[in-house]
Subunit: 220 residues, 2 copies
DNA sequence: TTTAATTTTTAGACAACTCTAAAAATATGT
DNA sequence: ACATATTTTTAGAGTTGTCTAAAAATTAAA
């Protein structure tokens, strides 16, 4: 009983939504993520439920079963490994990789992923700082915090992004912020929570819309 | 007007058949290659004709238009570049690559192929000795001949295979024959046209079923 | 708590691709 | 040339995944 490309995309969407909300995943939330109508989602939920990937109770939302979670995480593993490949080996920038990885993540070949993993020297994180699940579906949770929660005087290292849209990544590139960049919080405005940092010996101010989309780790 | 994965597979099949037969490509020949029923093929031929990829006259068979030929050759280019990648970088053997390449050839990203080509150092041939079309659809024809047409006393270098099924490639591996292997024709049986060679300082006999599937180039 | 707004599901339909069965066209053999 | 065999096309239908419109269930508001 194989998994179609469309089913894989639904499972991935359900996984990502459940990571955010931690409650039952709603039909509408999936519809928005997949860019389909709610009625289409309902149809698919029945199929995924029949196949044992989700538990689905009418009007109550869905949850991934262990089988569904493993399938979703395996696709995410492939997606992120391919993103590393594109950036490390094929000169893609981090804002160019997502659409291609969306296609490559559906290639079915266990040997391919095993060898790609080794070829890339077993990376633990993708170009956006997201952890790469291991072959058993384990994900290393990092102690990252959202930049908007940082404290004045603290020094932090950029470890990932929340929004990995091309627009946002281009903004970061323009201001020379990438994974690994260090920043020190100089000031936080009470009014709009905009923050001023020292980055690369320069001062820079970011709105909350920005700081809400950057993950950092506090440096000792 | 995009090309679906299925349409791509039909175009590729038509291209490969037309390379063999050089006459109009028949519905049945396509059906056999695609592993579908003739009625399904007829449906698809109408669609490909409407889209301008083939010229199709009922009951008369089909031919690729220039647009169709370029599309087919571009897929073949991608297929063969991925095969090189799998063998050169990911430790696949030449009998393992085809099925994965069948999937990878449909990934749509011009930058991906451009960069992959450069990463592989602009290979001209795939692991089976088949030429890789360039980005403009040009294919370098080699002066290869089929091994069964070789002459007693001549020395030849193996440059490709006709049949790239796993079974055949495993046979070649077992007898240590690969692209580049040199062989000298010692004898040809009149009765069944089986041929005896010197290969790697050893003598070996092959049936016509084998020699009909190996391409060689005569060494001066 | 009754009404209104929102969410979700059903009903019916369509596009892409496939099939079986039967009809039409073409090719082959005597 | 005529009958037979083969190839190809049509007719009708099934599957997957999508949609719109309308009904049913749930949630929010008055
Ligand atoms: Mn991505
Ligand atoms: Mn990523
Ligand atoms: Mn191949
Ligand atoms: Mn090949």
């Amino acid at each position: 009983m194989s998994v179609t490309l469309t089913e894989e995309n639904y499972l991935k969407a359900i996984y990502h939504i459940s990571q955010m909300t931690k409650t039952d995943v709603s039909t509408n939330a999936i519809a928005e993520k997949i860019d389909a109508k709610a009625s289409s989602v309902t149809d698919m939920l029945k199929k995924l439920s029949d196949k044992g990937f989700i538990t689905y109770i009418k009007y109550k939302g869905v949850n991934l079963t262990e089988k569904g979670r493993l399938t979703a995480v395996d696709i995410i593993r492939k997606h992120r490994l391919w993103e590393v490949f594109l950036v490390d080996k094929l000169n893609f920038s981090w804002d160019e990789v997502h659409d291609v990885a969306e296609q490559l993540e559906h290639i079915k070949s266990p040997k391919l992923i095993k060898e790609l993993d080794a070829f890339l020297d077993f990376p633990t994180h993708d170009p956006h700082g997201d952890p790469i699940p291991d072959k058993d579906g384990q994900i290393k949770r990092t102690d990252k915090i959202i930049l908007s929660k940082a404290e004045v005087g603290g020094t932090y290292k950029c470890v990932g992004v929340q929004d990995s849209s091309t627009d946002f990544l281009k903004y970061l590139d323009k201001h020379q912020i990438q994974i690994g960049t260090e920043l020190t919080v100089k000031d936080i405005e009470d009014f709009d929570h905009s923050m001023t940092f020292t980055i690369h010996q320069h001062n820079m101010t970011m709105s909350k819309a920005i700081t809400n989309n950057i993950y950092v780790k506090k440096l000792q």
